[in-house]
């Protein structure tokens, strides 16, 4: 293929990343170092994992606001269990089970009660967050088990383990969504629920599955986060669901459902992580950072739109 044609096939988000890298390189000498690269990789992994969940929910024409709360709850449950003497693996498994259950409840309500996913997951956000608060009596539970620490802090050949896990998850979901009937069904569900129902897709169980999987993803991210911080605090996951939605949308996922690629969401999460890191590296005052984040986001997306014309 000729070079110009090849260049045209590169997704706009890659250009966005390059532009950002350029800007931040100008802003700070240390930005483009190997060590900072690994730093950003690690910092983006938790958001990246959660964003898959945001992506799935939006893809199925829904939304999941409870992801951050499940992240908090999973971390809290695992920390509390470990503090009481449970071994790392059972503690994590139980925490994941709780997360899946929370997601499944969301899915059940969304599938059967005709209540908008926004409200169901908004309510779930409050209940899960509240549950974490109550379970810990507001306290911060340490999570310093050496094996547990590996999740959020370990590396394999210098690459952070959490980043590898995130990449693997994207690989898995990328395959599931494009290469299996189940994946096609999720796209169909998001595109047009009526049509999907008529064509024989089991819409209700599918919805439950989507949100249960979200719970699992958030739960996993929660374990990584608790491992990274060495603690579980009742407010540590708050807000990440919002970043996840931003990552999915920046990555080209349509809020109307039925369109988007999971790897686009990955780029979205990476862009957000690079933005934050780059701005910190440039040493700008926080108020200015806020303004710049807003401008860059809109700017990057505008570039993408223009490019597509």
């Amino acid at each position: 293929m000729r070079i110009p044609a090849l260049l045209g096939k590169v997704p706009g988000s890659i250009y966005a990343v390059l532009v950002l890298l350029l800007l931040f390189r100008v802003g700070s000498a240390q930005f483009l170092s190997v060590s900072n690269f690994l730093n950003v990789l690690q910092q983006s992994s938790i958001l990246a994992i959660v964003s898959i969940g945001s992506f799935l929910a939006i893809l199925s024409h829904g939304i999941d606001l409870s992801l951050g709360a499940i992240v908090t709850l999973a971390g809290m449950v695992s920390a509390l269990l470990m503090v009481q003497g449970y071994d790392v693996v059972p503690a994590c498994l139980i925490a994941l089970a709780v997360s899946v259950a929370a997601g499944a409840v969301n899915g059940l309500l969304i599938a059967y009660s005709r209540v908008d996913p926004f409200i169901v997951t908004l309510g779930a956000m409050g209940t899960c967050e509240g549950l974490a608060l109550v379970l810990a009596h507001g306290a911060t539970i340490p999570a310093t088990n050496a094996t547990f620490k590996v999740l959020g802090g370990g590396s394999l050949l210098f690459v952070p383990l959490s980043a590898l896990i995130a990449l693997a998850s994207y690989g898995l979901f990328g395959f599931l969504l494009k290469g299996t009937a189940l994946g096609t069904h999720v796209y169909a569900l998001g595109g047009n629920e009526e049509a999907a129902l008529l064509s024989g897709i089991q819409v209700r169980p599918l919805k439950i599955l989507v949100y249960a999987v979200n719970g699992l993803l958030a739960g996993f991210a929660g374990l990584v986060l608790a491992s990274r911080l060495g603690a579980a605090n009742p407010s540590q996951g708050i807000g990440i669901e919002f970043d996840g939605i931003a990552a999915a949308v920046v990555g080209g996922t349509s809020l109307a459902g039925g369109r988007g690629k999971v790897w686009g969401t990955f780029m979205g999460a990476v862009i957000i992580a690079i933005l934050r890191n780059g701005l910190n590296m440039a040493g700008l005052p926080m108020a200015l950072q806020m303004v710049i984040v807003g401008l860059i986001m809109v700017g990057v997306l505008t570039l993408d739109t223009l490019r597509r014309k």
Partner: protein, 316 residues
């Protein structure tokens, strides 16, 4: 397609040129990172302002880091990591949570960057010093002072901040112990207002509906105290005294105006400037104290004016 070629060229230049610029720079001054708990509350702006002024006087650079999202633990950890990447000479931090900050501090220790804590303590890692006020003790002292003002008898309401926050819990502990030691004092309610003025006002409005007789309102920071005062004043409630915490400029003004009864001085400017000075001492190889107390005294009409003058000078 030619425009894409241009883009790649610009990109390549952008990678090389700044490198050349840096290579020719003069020896840099010291750079300290100052990490606070959020970018919104005025208290932290004072702290950063104090730090920057001291830095200017000493000829060093200060970079501020504040989570865009209030009390976001992971964001604070990222800030520490980014500061390490930036190869700062010292990290001055007000940890949002003493336990959750430990891994971050350990990373800084591994990178041989000295860590100084201010305002709140860290629960582990190697710390060069702590600058600040003991929240628990300060609260207990202030609580006893206010209870004495109502003759250790009557109804009290506590307006707290964020129940999951360490600072919050320490202060609540201190205040509640003071109250428990006064048998004729009744704690009517303890409700959260997230350290926000507007939320405190709403909470107070609601509480006043159901509590006709209130003698004392203890707010866990000056912002909430001011919000509570507004609610009391608009409801026409007289005879209720209010205390805050922090020593914010507006709080001081309210004390001088006779609205707020007392607050506890956290000396926010000192919490910013003293660690910068201590960090500079470390750079020069001098030894510093493990604990640099600052503030900690009760503010009322007797000393509010001096503090106000001091702070106004520092805030310029």
């Amino acid at each position: 397609m030619k425009r894409f070629a241009w883009l790649w060229l610009v990109f390549a230049l952008g990678l090389i040129l700044p490198g050349l610029a840096v290579a020719g720079q003069a020896p840099k001054t010291y750079t300290f990172a100052v990490l606070v708990k959020d970018s919104t509350t005025p208290f932290w702006r004072y702290l950063i302002s104090g730090a920057k002024k001291e830095a200017k006087a000493l000829g060093v650079e200060v970079i501020e880091y504040a989570p865009l999202q209030q009390q976001n633990l992971e964001e604070q950890m990222r800030h520490v990591e980014d500061a390490i990447q930036k190869k700062v000479d010292a990290i001055i931090i007000a940890p949002i949570n003493p336990t959750a900050i430990i891994p971050a501090i350990e990373k800084a220790n591994a990178a041989k960057i000295p860590v100084l804590t201010t305002n709140s303590k860290a629960g582990g890692g190697k710390i060069a010093t702590f600058v600040g006020v003991e929240n628990y003790e300060g609260a207990k002292k202030l609580g006893e002072y206010m209870l004495k003002k109502i003759n250790r008898k009557g109804n009290v309401i506590i307006v707290e901040g964020n129940p999951a926050g360490q600072t919050n819990q320490d202060r609540v502990k201190g205040f509640r112990e003071a109250i428990a030691a006064a048998p004729e004092v009744k704690l009517l309610a303890q409700q959260p207002a997230m350290f926000r003025r507007d939320q405190a006002m709403t909470v107070m409005e609601n509480l006043l509906q159901t509590h006709p007789k209130v003698d004392l309102v203890i707010a866990l920071n000056d912002e909430m105290a001011l919000g509570s005062l507004k609610a009391l004043e608009q409801a026409g409630r007289k005879g209720v005294i209010v205390s805050g915490f922090d020593g914010a400029i507006e709080g001081l003004e309210a004390i001088l105006a006779g609205r707020l009864t007392a607050s506890l001085n956290q000396d926010p400017f000192g919490q910013g400037s003293l660690p910068v000075r201590a960090a500079m001492d470390l750079m020069k190889g001098k030894k510093i104290e493990e604990n640099i107390p600052t503030g900690g005294e009760i503010i009322d009409t007797s000393n509010a004016q001096q503090l106000l003058n001091l702070f106004k000078e520092a805030a310029k």
